[in-house]
């Protein structure tokens, strides 16, 4: 793979909060169309790193570009080209399904025709035809998460950041959720996912594992298993993360 194919590139990216180094000189690259698993124990610094890449948080030092834009100076251009789904559920629960879709589509600058076709397509894909006028707060968690993901890719971003998107979701819905992720990847969208489920790690093209703010391992799931001489991803994760000094 050549250099121009990378959509995220970091070099010694660091975030300090006073004495605490949340993210410690991480260097990695994410390639276009890739599903990149960003793993680590609780408190390892994943969310902080992700927030820096999304332009929500300014790095303390190091370099990074996202979709070709600089994370220090061009955060607003980055925001035009990414989608983001945070740990907290973040659609408006007091708006209906359709109102949420139209609102977020609207502020990303879709025109009326696009809004109409995109929302119809989205509702159909999720099988939410009979629920469009329901308040989002009344939907079950699994549906909310699938809806939130679909809304985050509505404006066809180059990269989507997903922060533990399947936390608390049942296995069947998790499977459906990953089907949505694969579908997005097939359209050329790059996916940057954090998760605590090791079966989900296996679905990723490449993964990195963070321990205490640093990236300890990076490669395909197969490569990591061979390197650490483990038969499962659970084993790989346990071997790396048990030495962690910090946790929530």
């Amino acid at each position: 793979m050549t250099r121009k194919d990378s959509v995220i590139k970091t070099e010694k990216l660091t975030k300090r909060f006073g004495d605490f180094i949340a993210t410690d000189e991480i260097t990695f690259e994410v390639l276009k169309g890739e599903i990149f698993g960003f793993l680590g124990a609780n408190g390892a610094g994943k969310t902080t790193a992700m927030r820096m890449l999304c332009g929500l948080s300014t790095p303390s030092s190091g370099k990074a570009t996202v979709a070709g834009f600089d994370v220090y100076r061009q955060t607003e251009q980055i925001k035009q080209h990414i989608g983001y789904m945070s740990q907290k559920f973040s659609l408006y629960e007091d708006l209906t399904v359709l109102e949420n879709i139209r609102f977020f589509g609207g502020i990303y600058g879709l025109d009326n025709r696009q809004l109409k076709s995109k929302s119809e397509e989205l509702v159909q894909r999720l099988g939410l035809q009979s629920e469009t006028k329901k308040l989002v707060g009344e939907l079950p968690l699994g549906w909310k998460q699938k809806l939130a993901f679909s809304v985050s890719v509505l404006h066809e971003p180059k990269i989507v950041f997903l922060d533990e998107p399947t936390g608390g979701v049942d296995p069947v819905t998790r499977r459906q959720f990953w089907a949505l992720i694969y579908e997005a990847a097939s359209r050329g969208i790059t996916l940057f996912v954090t998760t605590h489920y090791m079966d989900e790690a296996e679905y990723c093209d490449r993964i990195s594992i963070m321990v205490d703010g640093r990236i300890e391992a990076l490669g395909t799931p197969q490569e990591l298993k061979i390197k650490l001489n483990e038969s499962t991803m659970d084993g790989v994760f346990y071997q790396l993360a048990r030495g962690a000094k910090r946790s929530d």
């Binding site: 929500l56 925001k79 559920f89 659609l91 600058g109």
Partner: protein
């Protein structure tokens, strides 16, 4: 512009979907405006009076009945000694004690002179001060009365008397409601606007939706405008309701230029909402925002010239009052509603409030961080 359209659509949907809050915004100010002016009264009534009458003469009786007939005093009881009357003051039963000495009537007729003794319970300063003044007034009046009764009228009045006939301009009957109602409306408007805007962005911070907004390419001033405009419209509705209530319930209708009144309110609302938004950019939870807003509201209300005139405040307090938007609104409302002022008179106030609006809103936009 399209972004703002989507933001407004969203805010209005959320406001109208939250029925409980909507009713609170509309009904609460109306109710308060109906109830508060009836209680927030500068006149002191029901002053409890203890009387020690050593004289028991027709004249002393006449004086006492004149006092009780005034409507301000309630006869708490007769006592045989001033010590006993003191005790009733100590027990908080009486606010004032009046001692009529032995020989009151006789001395008054023979010597043409007599002293009375008044003791005042000054725990409640306002009640004591006004009560003492009322009582002194009634006694003076009584004095006038017996003087004309006792002296044989001559062609030339032997004692020159200066009588003051005040002409109360703008509020001839000194109806305190004319004074209080516009002031209370000013405070209600400030409270509704300030709290609504302060809590709104913080609420989005609490539930996490602000993060989803911050990760979009939305412009900061679009976002702030999207929050400002809906509450600005609500503020206008509340103000109009308030004007209607003061007209229908109290018969108070702006004597001056109604457009000038609204023009001022339009700018004033921008200032108050900007202040609320500014607080919401500095706080992380609704609880914090609430407490900070209360802190400022107390200062705004007590130092806004509604309850105490700003002119009689010490110098440092006048500085604070000048930095208090409420003081401008209270003044302008009284100018336009009571005095009948027009554009020209409120221009300096309008300029000051415009300054507040610009500073507070720019500050809020500057301090609202999409990237931390």
């Amino acid at each position: 512009m399209r972004t703002i359209k989507f933001l407004l659509q969203k805010e209005f949907r959320q406001i109208f979907r939250n029925r409980a809050i909507l009713i609170l915004i509309m009904v609460m100010p109306v109710m308060q405006l109906i109830i508060l002016p009836l209680a927030a009264d500068y006149e002191v009534k029901n002053i409890n009076l203890s009387v020690v009458d050593h004289d028991h003469s027709p004249y002393s009786q006449q004086l006492i009945s004149k006092i009780t007939a005034s409507g301000y005093f309630r006869l708490q009881g007769y006592h045989t000694s001033i010590e006993e009357a003191y005790r009733s003051i100590e027990q908080d039963k009486a606010d004032l004690a009046l001692e009529i000495p032995y020989g009151f009537e006789r001395n008054l007729i023979r010597e043409g002179e007599q002293q009375l003794f008044i003791a005042v319970n000054a725990i409640n300063g306002t009640k004591a001060g006004l009560g003492g003044a009322y009582l002194a007034d009634i006694i003076r009046d009584y004095n006038q009365h017996i003087r004309t009764e006792l002296t044989i009228p001559t062609r030339f009045q032997s004692l020159p008397i200066i009588e003051i006939v005040p002409n109360n301009r703008f509020n001839p009957l000194l109806n305190y409601q004319f004074f209080m109602v516009p002031g209370i409306l000013a405070i209600l408007l400030t409270m509704v606007g300030g709290f609504l805007s302060a809590l709104n962005i913080v609420k989005e911070k609490e539930i996490g939706t602000i993060e989803q907004i911050n990760v979009t390419p939305i412009k900061k001033h679009h976002f702030i405008l999207g929050k400002l405009i809906p509450f600005w419209i609500l503020g206008n509705v509340v103000f109009t309701l308030g004007l209607l209530v003061s007209w229908l319930v109290y018969g108070i209708f702006p004597q001056g230029n109604l457009l000038a009144m609204y023009g001022f309110i339009w700018v004033y609302l921008l200032a108050v909402l900007g202040f609320g938004l500014l607080i919401s950019t500095y706080t992380d939870t609704q609880q914090q925002a609430m407490f900070i807003m209360f802190f400022f509201m107390m200062i705004f209300i007590l130092m806004g010239g509604l309850f105490t005139p700003i002119n009689s405040m010490p110098g440092w307090a006048k500085v604070i009052a000048n930095l208090n938007p409420v003081s401008y609104l209270v003044e302008v409302m009284r100018m336009i509603i009571l005095k009948g002022s027009g554009w020209r008179a409120v221009l300096p106030h309008l300029g000051a409030i415009l300054g507040f609006a610009l500073v507070l809103n720019s500050w809020a936009i500057w301090n609202y961080r999409k990237t931390n």
